[in-house]
């Protein structure tokens, strides 16, 4: 199957997806749940952020047991490294996970006894890894002086690993039977996702789960041809349904609807590479989209929050509510104007609950934390 699919086929695929999604949204039952902590934090001040995270980790039962003596991979979000400002504000402020949040989290992991901490992101730059992170606004010297066991990895492709690692999604995968990833996401004991709280042009929201979209190698998920030097994003495959070099699509009739594919790809990835801890940077961010490329529909927001949880669906559900949305909202309603609801799809596969009533919120309440994000445009 190629992208030269007929409009009829496209509509048929989209309909199948939509119907499937509606039926899945209705599922409930004893889904995994875990507390989510919310803290007020208005400044990217290291001491303040660290103190807030420390409190939140305590509220979540502590992180000692999670990270002590372990290798911790920290997936941050610098959106590949397109360093373009939003309304003249640097992407470090508005688009990327802020370095201070990452530094504070890693500092706490280190103090809790983490053996190795690897900061991971798929950077489109072909520069040396450390230079690529520096170009994204991360001061590596500060990190090194604060967290001695810290390492940096560009997981865009194979990176320092000898080969890709295949992670099975499990039963009832949406799009892929398995996901190919950089070895760092496998050769680790603990997977931490630290995204920025943002809208997403397609998915509606991008949070802890969507952050793992970037774990998929460009070399395999940007086209049908495996090109190890690829610096392309994954839109052609994961958004638009182009064939991937990784293969493994499960749909009998491919969908080319990004609104169908993106949320399902996210759920498949998260099922293949489970997240152990999610920390969402919502101190300052943007709304209406996930980066400057979303253009005129974006804006600046200052929720002044940090949100963390062990279960990514629960964490993202609370985040979605904080952003002013119904976490169970159907496609076509905000913020899911252009896509199926990732949270509901994840819940349907048993990753975690997207029912607020089933999630214990610690620290600041959702009502007190709520900060309305204006969703991006309808397509």
């Amino acid at each position: 199957m190629t992208k030269s699919v007929s409009r009829r086929a496209f509509l048929a695929a989209a309909t199948v997806g939509a119907v499937g999604a509606r039926s899945l949204y209705g599922q409930a039952g004893a889904l995994p749940t875990s507390p989510v902590a919310i803290a007020r934090c208005r400044r990217y001040d290291f001491a303040t952020v660290k103190a807030s995270l420390a409190t939140m980790f305590d509220q979540l039962g502590g992180i000692g047991g999670l990270v002590r003596g372990k290798t911790v991979s920290v997936k941050i979000n610098v959106t590949g490294g397109w360093h373009v400002p939003v309304y003249t504000l640097s992407p470090v402020e508005t688009v990327y996970t802020h370095p201070i949040v990452v530094l504070a989290a890693c500092s706490l992991f280190y103090e809790a006894g983490a053996g190795r901490i690897i900061i991971c992101e798929s950077l489109y730059s072909t520069d040396e890894v450390r230079a690529s992170y520096s170009a994204s606004g991360y001061d590596l010297n500060v990190f090194a002086s604060t967290v001695p066991v810290l390492e940096w990895e560009n997981t865009r492709n194979r990176g320092t690993g000898g080969e890709y690692r295949e992670l099975p999604v499990g039963a009832d995968a949406y799009l892929y039977q398995s996901i190919q990833v950089n070895h760092r996401y496998v050769d680790t004991d603990v997977m931490v996702s630290i995204p920025k709280m943002k809208n997403h042009d397609i998915a509606g929201v991008t949070l802890a789960m969507k952050n793992l979209f970037g774990t998929t190698p460009s070399a395999l998920y940007s086209s049908a041809v495996h090109r190890e030097d690829s610096t392309q994003n994954r839109a052609a495959v994961l958004h638009q349904g182009g064939m991937s070099a990784a293969g493994g699509e499960v749909l009998p009739v491919p969908s080319f609807d990004p609104g169908f594919r993106v949320p399902r790809a996210v759920v498949d990835i998260v099922r293949a590479r489970p997240i152990d801890l999610s920390i969402v940077d919502a101190v300052v961010s943007m709304h209406g989209g996930e980066g400057a490329w979303n253009g005129t529909q974006t804006g600046i927001v200052t929720p002044g929050l940090l949100i963390a949880g062990r279960n990514p669906v629960c964490t993202d559900t609370v985040c979605t509510a904080v952003m002013g949305y119904d976490p169970s909202a159907a496609r076509g309603t905000r913020p899911f104007y252009n896509a199926d609801n990732t949270l509901a799809l994840a819940a349907a596969r048993g990753v975690g609950t997207n029912r607020l009533s089933d999630i214990e919120v610690r620290g600041l309440s959702i009502d007190a934390a709520r900060y309305i994000f204006l969703p991006g445009a309808r397509h």
Binding site: T296, G299, T302, P303, A377
Partner: protein, 873 residues
């Protein structure tokens, strides 16, 4: 809301011409107050940020409230509800839109409410909450309406949608025309004075402004379009433009790749007349000051003030990261703006912080000012109504400019015994038009300004008497003051010789609170003339009734202001006339003394000034005196209680180089009453004075009939003596004193000395200049035991400079009198280092007190107020 007191320091003053506001009916019909989106109102903001009430909506509030003429507040929230609240914050009704509301509503002349929602619906709601019509804008998939509609007096409205269209909608809800302007229009359309409509958007990578003329035959065809390259095609134009009608230009701001830009566009030609690059992007809508200054916030966290040439005059850094909302300007030029952390700041027009207060989340809207109240919305879902108790008072006569070879100047002294606050000043000419009294370093003259006043702080402001680089014609008017409840002040009017700078005369004008009924002494003895200044401080026009009673209490004449001047005393207007101009009968009847009573349907503030020129003086004009006569309140009570009041300084006699005379004037507004005046020396022993027509006496008793004016005057003969007078009466008797000081038989000056009652805690101004100006106090112990008195001297910044305690052997005996200059009280202190400040007085016995300021070369005396409060209490 957490209230955080201001930390700002004392300021400067500011000056500019704002339209006379009076007390205009409160009404905020749309975003930034008017069709031009000036962001400026005549209403005053609170002097301190106290929360009167708050209302919590179900959703976050991104838009500004609007206020109907009946005080109803309309609030649109992202929960999709339009809330109507009464002025007390109580909900009246809600209207549910199809989706969240982000646009500030707009009101038409009938009070109907217009707004758009996130689903692309455009609504019109009646004031009772019922729907008039709702229309869905037809084009496009994404049709959300974020910007505030523009509703013109024609009833037509203009609204822009993210589908890229500008729609013209008639009053019935029909789309009359539409125009695709592109982008995702998010800023509110504006109009000029002729009703031409301007809209901005992002056109490709340009900032685009289009002008439409609704009255033309092709209303949907732009008259012109203006484009300014932004270099990027991703930064939506969020900032709404503002039209400066007096300069025929429009200001519009936007974000470029790495900086911001503000452009001025000629509204006739569409040509750019100004471009200013700012360090960072702009989402805030500019506000336009009364002098053409532009205020706008930036994502660099600064509020910028630019003059009309584009020069940045100042910037103020908020504590939050960004300014995403828009500033608002009040009637004295104060600017209010919120930051991304939820703190609102009040700034004076020169950029000094007046106060700040914190909400719980970002402020994306523009504060709204209505009648001493500030409405603020926040992303914490709340609408806050901020208002604070304040004092309003007037100085009924101020002047500035040149006349007859001399310069008239006005000095204001203020001190604050309460919490940090501010003083808001407005100056008006007699016609109620703005009166530009002060100038700023950048050359502008202002008729309104405010200044922060911290606890215990004292400030002095003095007009220049001339314009920058030009002579100034004399302007006369009054000052309206609004300040914290424990702020006190006075005005000192000075006339100086232009060539020598020497003072011709000085007199104080006390702070006056308006009343509907009061009286004033009129003294024409010895060639004196008494002038009267009245101002209508109420909300309505009035025709005050003026009645003159001669010294026997007989009504000589009565007439209204309209009968005298041919017109009513309109609200905000001021009338200054000599008594003889109001009542020519005084001249023809050779009436020298009496009382002028005033009754008005509107609160009226007044002062009487008595002018005296000693004809025997060798230099004509140089020995003119002006003394202030107090306002006599309307009679109250039944007059059965014994009252005692004092004149803490009287004097009489003559020597080779000194001549003193004292005149006491009394009148009785109530029933006939007995009056006893006793004179005492500094030890509290009876003091014999040579009194005109009464001989040498230490006590005078009289029965004063209703309306009668009774006077006790010393002759000026005999040895020089001084002391005080005690007045005991049972009736509604009021009095004042006039103190005359001369040399060589020539009267150098006269000054009015008010009566006072006993106090134990008070303060007085300290105002001195080495070898030329000094402050003095006269005290009488009216208690029954020796008074231990503690004097504390504070400088203008409320730093304690010196303390003097008079106790034990120094304690002031009962009935004893003490008159000292500050340099004598604080003999160890360097008074030259304290040119301005206050002296607080604490006593364990009640004291009667007056305060005065004496100028040397030539010798002049002016009475300063006794402040019945002190900051160190």
């Amino acid at each position: 809301m957490t209230v955080i007191r201001s930390r700002c320091a004392f300021v400067v003053f500011i000056l500019a011409a704002v339209p006379a506001t009076g007390d205009v009916l409160a009404d905020v019909p749309g975003f930034h107050y008017d069709d031009q989106r000036t962001g400026r109102t005549t209403a005053l903001g609170p002097v301190e940020p106290d929360v009167l009430w708050s209302f919590k909506a179900e959703g976050s509030i991104h838009s500004s409230p609007v206020v109907a003429s009946d005080g109803t507040v309309y609030l649109a929230a992202t929960d999709g509800l339009l809330y109507a609240l009464d002025a007390g914050g109580q909900p009246k009704w809600t209207f549910k839109a199809h989706e969240g509301i982000y646009s500030t509503p707009a009101l038409d002349d009938a009070g109907n409410i217009y707004f758009g929602d996130l689903d692309g619906w455009y609504h019109s709601i009646r004031p009772d909450g019922s729907e008039r019509w709702s229309i869905a804008v037809p084009e496009g998939v994404e049709r959300r309406i974020l910007a505030s509609p523009l509703v013109l007096s024609s009833g037509n409205s203009y609204v822009a949608s993210w589908n890229g269209y500008l729609y013209a909608v008639d009053p019935a809800g029909n789309i009359v025309w539409r125009r695709l302007i592109g982008g995702m229009p998010s800023s509110s359309p504006v109009a000029d004075a002729e009703g031409n409509v301007y809209v901005t958007t992002l056109g490709e990578s340009d900032l685009l402004v289009a002008k439409f003329s609704p009255e033309s035959s092709t209303p949907s065809v732009p008259v012109w379009t203006f484009r300014e390259s932004l270099g990027v095609n991703r930064n939506r134009v969020v900032s709404s433009p503002v039209v400066d009608t007096s300069r025929n230009r429009l200001y519009v701001a936007a974000s470029r790749t790495s900086d911001g830009v503000l452009c001025a566009v000629d509204i006739d030609t569409g040509e750019r007349t100004l471009r200013v690059v700012l360090p960072k992007g702009v989402l805030s809508s500019p506000a336009l000051g009364d002098d053409g200054s532009i205020y706008l916030g930036s994502v660099d966290g600064r509020l910028y003030c630019l003059n009309r040439l584009g020069t940045i005059l100042w910037s103020f850094r908020v504590e939050g990261y960004y300014i995403l909302g828009s500033p608002s300007i009040d009637g004295v030029g104060n600017i209010y703006v919120g930051d991304s952390e939820g703190t609102i700041y009040a700034l004076s027009r020169d950029g000094r912080e007046l106060w700040r207060a914190a909400s719980q989340s970002s402020i994306l809207s523009s504060p709204v000012l209505v009648d001493d109240r500030l409405y603020l919305t926040s992303c914490d879902n709340r609408l806050y109504a901020l208002a604070s108790p304040s004092r309003s008072f007037y100085f009924p006569q101020v002047a500035d400019g040149n006349r007859g070879g001399g310069d008239l100047r006005t000095q204001f002294l203020f001190t604050n015994s309460g919490d940090d606050t501010q003083v808001q000043l407005q100056f008006f000419e007699s016609s109620a038009l703005p009166f530009a009294l002060f100038s700023f370093p950048w050359g502008s003259m202002y008729s309104t300004f405010s200044l922060p006043l911290k606890h215990g702080q004292t400030v002095s402001l003095e007009s220049t008497g001339f314009l920058p680089f030009a002579p100034r014609e004399l302007s006369v008017g009054y000052a309206a003051v609004r300040a914290g409840e424990r702020v006190n002040g006075t005005v000192i009017l000075s006339h100086l010789q232009s060539d020598t700078g020497l003072i011709t005369y000085q007199t104080s004008v006390p702070a006056t609170e308006p009343a509907r009924e009061f009286s004033l002494f009129v003294d024409r003895t010895g060639g004196r003339e008494t002038g009267l200044a009245l101002l209508n401080a109420g909300n309505s026009n009035a025709d005050p009734q003026l009645s003159f009673y001669d010294s026997s209490g007989t009504v000589l004449a009565g007439r209204t202001v309209a009968q005298i001047t041919g017109q009513l005393l309109l609200k905000g207007q001021h009338l200054a006339r000599y008594a003889v101009e109001l009542f020519p009968e005084l001249e023809s009847g050779r009436i020298e003394r009496g009382v002028l009573s005033v009754r008005s349907s509107s609160p009226t503030a007044a002062v009487a000034l008595c002018e005296y020129v000693d004809d025997s003086a060798p230099m004509e004009g140089a020995l003119r005196s002006m003394s202030t006569l107090p306002v006599i309140p309307a009679a109250g009570g039944d007059g059965s209680d014994t009252r005692t009041f004092y004149f803490p300084q009287v004097g009489n006699g003559s020597s080779a180089d000194l001549g003193l005379r004292t005149a006491l004037l009394f009148t009785n507004l109530g029933d006939e009453a007995d009056l006893v005046v006793d004179f005492f020396d500094s030890d509290g022993k009876p003091l014999s004075l040579d009194l005109v027509d009464l001989g040498v006496r230490s006590s005078v008793a009289s029965r004063v009939s209703k309306g009668e004016v009774f006077s006790v005057r010393t002759s000026g003969e005999g040895p020089v003596v001084s002391g005080y007078a005690r007045v005991t009466t049972k009736g509604s008797v009021s009095g004042t004193a006039r103190f005359s000081y001369g040399q060589g038989g020539v009267t150098l000056f006269e000054t009015g000395v008010p009566a006072c009652g006993p106090l134990t805690d008070f303060s007085v101004f300290q105002s001195s200049i080495a070898n030329s100006l000094e402050t003095g106090i006269a005290l009488v112990n009216t208690g029954s035991a020796p008074a231990t008195i503690t004097f504390r001297l504070y400088d203008a910044a409320y730093r304690l400079v010196a303390v003097k305690e008079m106790s034990d052997d120094e304690a002031l005996a009962p009935g004893a009198h003490l008159a000292r200059y500050a340099k004598e009280i604080f003999a160890e202190a360097d008074l030259d280092a304290v040119p301005l400040g206050i002296i607080t007085v604490e006593s364990d016995q009640s004291l009667a007190v007056i305060s005065l300021r004496h100028a040397e070369r030539p010798s002049r005396l002016v009475i300063l107020p006794v402040i019945e409060d002190r900051p160190d209490r």
